[in-house]
Subunit: 147 residues, 2 copies
DNA sequence: GTATATCTATACTTTTTTAGTATAATATAT
DNA sequence: ATATATTATACTAAAAAAGTATAGATATAC
């Protein structure tokens, strides 16, 4: 199966949605993120590393270190997170930069997909992290039920 | 790069958009489809084979054989073609059938992506082949210019 | 009835992408 | 000092996508 949102991107969003719920409440160690979000620890590490480089999250090393969301959740969008992770998905390859299809200008399919993609990206840019917060309470409940 | 519409699906759409422009005007051999749409012949063959099995196109063997659109272009949608090709792309894997995420019910990200996907599929179901026709005239012009 | 143009059906190969792991190093609170 | 964290990069394995090859069947024109 084929997805526009890769696993990594999805995990990154989960991590940010969780951190959004703890904004202003200190640092969360990666080990805890992994546990509560059902991710492997090395993979979580990798994703946090990318998010940190793009300044979506801030990290603190050492004992009592951990991760927190750099900016308030209502100032970060789903698109921001995807973009930070290197999101460059396209509905159709013919929409990609550098791709020069000789039919492009006359191709109504191209125009159609272009419109669809714009709409989607626009919605990603509108959706804020504050709207998709995952709280500890919710997570504990579902994880308990899934055991 | 990652796309929702695979190359095969895109080619299938092109083929159908072209056949839509010649609906009621007889059969088009695969060799011609490949040439005019800038596709390799074996690949075109493979795609036509799939479209035939799903009755999107009808094929006639033998000398003077070829391919034509089974139904009028205003009765076939972009979604019909994608579906025939085995389209099962999802925005996010967590939307896939059989995928059971323990957080699913409470996950606002899941709900958000679900909505986005519905919107997209709906638009695919609304767009008819008659709206994306590629004519011989257009194609010859662009191909000439690209040489 | 034969040659030829055409589709049929499946198997194979190559390349790319994705997903995930491992590890040695560095930082900090106590 | 030491225990607990993150850092940064390299590596591996599995899966998917893209495209090719080929032997065969079929229909038609002549």
């Amino acid at each position: 199966m084929n997805t526009l949102i890769r696993r990594e991107y999805d995990y990154a969003l989960r991590i940010c949605a969780y951190l959004a719920g703890r904004y202003g409440q200190g640092r969360v160690p990666i080990s805890r993120l992994a546990k509560v979000l059902l991710l492997s620890r090395p993979f979580t590490t990798k994703i946090v590393f990318r998010l940190k480089n793009e300044k979506i999250v801030t990290t603190v090393q050492g004992k009592d270190g951990g991760v927190y969301l750099t900016n308030p959740p209502d100032q970060v969008t789903v698109y921001d997170v995807l973009h930070a992770m290197g999101y460059n998905s396209r509905l159709n390859e013919c929409l990609a930069e550098g791709h020069k299809c000789p039919m492009e200008d006359i191709c109504r399919l191209h125009i159609f997909f272009q419109q669809q993609e714009e709409m989607l990206i626009n919605n990603f840019k509108t959706k804020k992290l504050s709207e998709v917060i995952m709280t500890d309470g919710q997570l504990k409940k579902t994880v308990r039920e899934s055991l």
